[in-house]
Each structure stands twice: as C-alpha cells, then as structure tokens.
Symmetry: C2
Subunit: 340 residues, 2 copies
C-alpha cells in the first residue's frame, strides 16, 4: 500500500492525504479523520526512503561507538544508549551506529556524516582538546556533545553534568566530617569528566589548605575490578586515606570489596562517596551499606540529547546551546566522621 493507492481509495489527492498525515493545518478535520481511519484499516506506512528523498531528512541520528579495548565493555555507555534509544523510538527515529576504533573516531564520524544516512550526530567520551570538535563544526550537520572538552572553546552545543561542582560538594561534605586524607578513584585520565571531577575535589581541598597527592588519585576504566585494585593500593599506603571519592558506583563496587577484604568498615574506617549514574543494576541503596552519592541519570541525559537532536532536525522547538545539569548529593550511610 502506498500513498497513491491510499489516496485513490479515499477519493482524495495524494497532496491532501500527505498533508493530513503530517499534521498540516489546511486540511479539514473531518477529512483528516477519514484519512487516519483508512491508515489504521489498511496498515499503510509511508515509505521512508521516499520521505527521505523528498524531505532530505534521514530520520535517524548517528553515533560512533567506541569498540576497541578500553571502551567496549562500558556499562555506562549502554545505559546512556538506552536513553538515546528510548527517545528515538518514541519519535520514530533510528540510531545508526558506526563502530570504530577510538583512534579512528574522527574519520569514522566523517564517514557517518557524509554517508547521508543520518541527519544529526552525537558524540560522547569527550576528551580534553578533543579533535572531533573541529571536524563536527566543519560539517554543517547538527550535533550535540555529551560532556565537554576541557581546554576547548565552549562554542559547541553540549549537555553535561556539572562534574566539578558535584565532586566539589562531595569533597566538601567529607571535609565537614573532619576528613583530611582524600583519595579519588577516577575514570580514564584523558576524559573530560575525569579531569573536572578531580578539579572539583582539588578545589574543595585547597580551600582548607589541603592537597590531593598524585598517588591518591587512580585513573582507570570504570570497572569493579579496577575499583578493587585502586582501593587495595590506597589501603597499602602508610597513611591511608579516610575519605574516598569514586567516579562511578561500578568502581565503588570493587572498592568496597577491597575494604571488606581488608576488614575495614565503611563510614567508620573509611567514608566513600560515589557518583551514581543511576545504573539499574547497581542501585546505591542496595549496597550492603547504602552509598552516599552524587546522582545524575545517565539515561535521562541520553533521552534529552535525543530529544534535542531530533527536535533540531525536525525544526521544532529551540534549545539552549548548553545544558549543565546539577548532580544531586544524596547522603546515605557510607559517610561518617573521620576516625581519629
């Protein structure tokens, strides 16, 4: 069933049927209903390829999926993708993904853009001075960045959470509890969010004249395995930290295992605050000791980005160039006064 057949069946022109379907105002409501009913009955679906050709819109947003070691297993990416996908499905858009080696991302992005299969791009895992930005800006195709690129001019649309403030606040809380020896189990050092989170901690500490020594910061993939390793190392230090910040509840999972193995008690011997991306598998309140967290939904961010991207493509609604979401500091049981 195509438009022509449908319109003949209704005794209308293709024009009118098309307009009725696409919500144009200049069509009689009675007619529109008749059309809509016929669509239901016949199961008519417009041919996407034809729509694309006629409108120049592909109806899909593209993203490059980092695929090589170091990224592929990232549970956070999956969660974010779920948000993107949710919204995309709702708006009948598609996600076109191009898997790529992280070293080849700029080229992959370009290929995706000129392939003509997407009308907007999305990128994540921003790094400091990210080379993809220049490429994206040269492309004349809408895009949004999740995160920011430390050190680059903020002249690109992004949605990010205020990592700096989140970790500043978290550190501040721990300082107020009397802690002075801090450690940070962070994500990969080159990623923007990791840089900002560290900066947040450093800023809070320096207000009290404290510093965060290099060996009290761990940078790694955000797996529980890595969390465990990092914490084990901290515990072996002569003056071990009493306040630990984690960039993810996944890292926290491993870190806490290390604590347990060492026979240490959360909140009593060591206070821990983790950033909670609201991973459904890993709710901070379900930890044996409920975790104090800075919370911000990764899935919601994904959905919002999809919404903005699709809105831009459809040319409905306009959006602020930048969105910076505040993370919520939620105090649970993993934080307590510094031991003396």
């Amino acid at each position: 069933m195509n438009l022509k057949q449908l319109s003949q069946l209704l005794g209308l022109s293709q024009t009118t049927v098309s307009r009725a379907l696409n919500g144009y105002p200049e069509v009689n409501e009675a007619t529109r209903e008749r059309v809509l009913r016929a669509v239901k009955e016949t199961g008519y679906r417009p041919n996407k390829a034809a729509q694309r050709l006629a409108t120049g819109k592909a109806g899909s947003i593209g993203l490059v999926m980092p695929m090589a070691p170091g990224h592929q297993s990232d549970i956070h990416f999956g969660e974010f993708l779920a948000g993107l996908g949710e919204e995309a499905v709702r708006q009948d858009f598609h996600l076109v993904i191009m898997p790529s080696d992280p070293d080849d991302e700029v080229a992959a992005l370009r290929r995706l853009a000129i392939s003509g299969n997407v009308d907007a791009l999305f990128v994540a895992y921003m790094r400091a001075h990210d080379p993809r930005l220049a490429m994206l800006k040269s492309l004349a195709m809408p895009f949004i960045v999740h995160g920011r690129s430390f050190g680059s001019e903020p002249d690109y649309p992004y949605l990010d959470i205020d990592n700096e403030t989140a970790f500043y606040d978290a550190a501040k809380l721990l300082l107020q509890l009397g802690h002075t020896r801090f450690a940070l189990i962070n994500g990969p050092a080159h990623l923007d969010f990791a840089i900002r989170r560290k900066n947040g901690v450093v800023a809070a500490l320096s207000e009290r004249g404290l510093t965060l020594s290099k060996n009290c910061v761990s940078h790694s993939l955000m797996t529980d395995e890595q969390g465990l390793i990092a914490m084990e190392q901290f515990l072996q230090m002569p003056e071990r930290p009493t306040a630990v910040l984690c960039s993810s509840t996944v890292l926290a999972l491993g870190a806490i295992r290390a604590l347990n193995q060492a026979g240490l008690k959360l909140a009593e011997d060591i206070s821990l605050i983790a950033h909670d991306d609201e991973l459904p598998l890993l709710k901070p309140e379900n930890f044996s000791v409920p975790l104090t967290t800075t919370r911000s939904s990764l899935r919601a961010a994904g959905a919002r980005i999809a919404q903005r991207l699709i809105g831009t493509v459809k040319e409905i609604g306009s959006y602020p160039e930048h969105e910076l979401w505040k993370a919520e500091l939620i105090v649970r049981a993993s934080t307590g006064p510094a031991p003396r």
Copy 2:
C-alpha cells in the same frame, strides 16, 4: 554534486555514469575510467536515499539491542557488535540499532522491520523456543540468528558454535585427568548456548556413569562478580568439585578470584576450563595461571554474520543455511590431574 551534474560535466548520460559506477558490463572501459576519475576529483557521492528509493534496498542491517537490566552491560555483546560493525563498514552498510527491553523484543523487531530502514535483520541471545523466530519467518526479510533456539525446528538460518561438543570435549579432558566432581558456571539458564553447554557436560559425564547435580550448576549473567559468587558457593560444599567449567573467561575471572581468596591453587586443587570468546581485554594466556579454554572468536562470528546478511541483500553469493563452528580446545595451565 549529483548524478545529473556529474554526467553533464562528463558529457555523458546519467545512465552511462550510473552503470559505470555500479560495475555494469555494457560500458566501455575507457569511459568507465573517465567516470571513476571524475568521481575522485569531484568527490561525488551517490545520494543514499535516492538509491534506496530506486533500488528498494536500504543498505543497512538492523538489530535489536537488549537494553534492560540483565543485558546492558554484556561485554560479549559489544565484542560481537564490533565484528558486525567491522564488516558492515567495509561494505558501506550501516547498523541500525533499536534498543529494547528484552520483554518487548518481538515487537521491537517488527517495528524495525517495517520501518523500511533495514533490509536484513539479525538477532542474538537466542532462547529455547524463542518467540522471535516465528515473527522473523513471517517477515519476508532476510535474517540470521546467532546461536540457535533449543527446541525449535532448525528451519531458519543460523550461525552458531558447537557449544555442546565444545563442553563435551572440555569435560572429557577433565574426566581423563581423573576428575569426578564437576561444576559448571554457566550463562543465564534460558539462553540456548547455556542449555547446550550444560548438555555437553552432562553427556560426557554420563558416559562415565556420572551426573551433574543441580547444585553444581550456576546460572547467571556472565560477569566476574557472578563468577566469584558461584565459585564461593561451590567451595562451601562438603564435597567440593575439583573440575569447573566456565561459560566465559569473564566468569572465570571472578571464579579464580574466589579460588585465590580461599587459598586454593588452580590446576592443583581445582582444574578450570573456560570458554574463550577472544575478548581482547581478557586473554586467557594473560591470567596468572594461563587458562585452558575452548576458543571461538565472537568477533569473527559477528563479521561472518554481517558478511552473509549483506551478501544476501546484495544478492551476491549464496550461503549455507546453517553454519556450526567448532570451538578449539586449547590446553594451558589451569587443568591438571584430579587431586586425591
């Protein structure tokens, strides 16, 4: 730059240029070269949407990505996707993904199919009596299944590894080493591969008159966390197993951590064989005790599936309905004679 402009520039008809580009035989070689050169110079790229409309082929293959708890973090899926993607990129195809709740997969698959954005489908994570099969078969769109569906007629195209034989062989090896008390750390119980792997083990054991008791089989997500938990439970049994099979090196990672914590020695106290999907992050030879494994590349399987799907769409080459890959049994240091 479009076809029309390009052909005018060359003083040829669109027909000829189109034919030259698509490798039709009825065009003079000299002309073809001239065209190809012009394409290089002008950077002409055919408009995908127009091609799609004219040919009816979308140039992309679709898959539903399980997104809800229980799947989203699956490192194995990422690896498989990398294979799919690699081949897709090579053939200038796209991957269109539709994220979906696992409970909603049938509907998601249908939406994807009728969206007109893909011309072939791929599904994985096959379950016993998988309901998606009936839907796929009703769809008149090429598809391939990774894995099989236990209990369903094998009247659908699939690519699978011979899980049963792989685990049969692995169990056999352990039997020859004198082991009699077996345990299996398996994937989710409803998944086909898990069923077959268990069957393989059971078959090998029953040849010696042995059985695999229910509490010696663990079914869970294939994370190292789960591997650790499973092994811990096995170790608490009065007659603890001496031979353990793991459905993934990821599970093995956790299992071995449990062993270490219990002060047990791999190969000496407990022999372990894991299935190795060749995850780049987790090479069995890099374990502190190199792992005996059954090996089969998940990435290669992904690439092969993409190749078949794309080949079918392009109508080049024909493929066997079924491919069953043998896994390789590779003996390393994690297996040894049964302790007495």
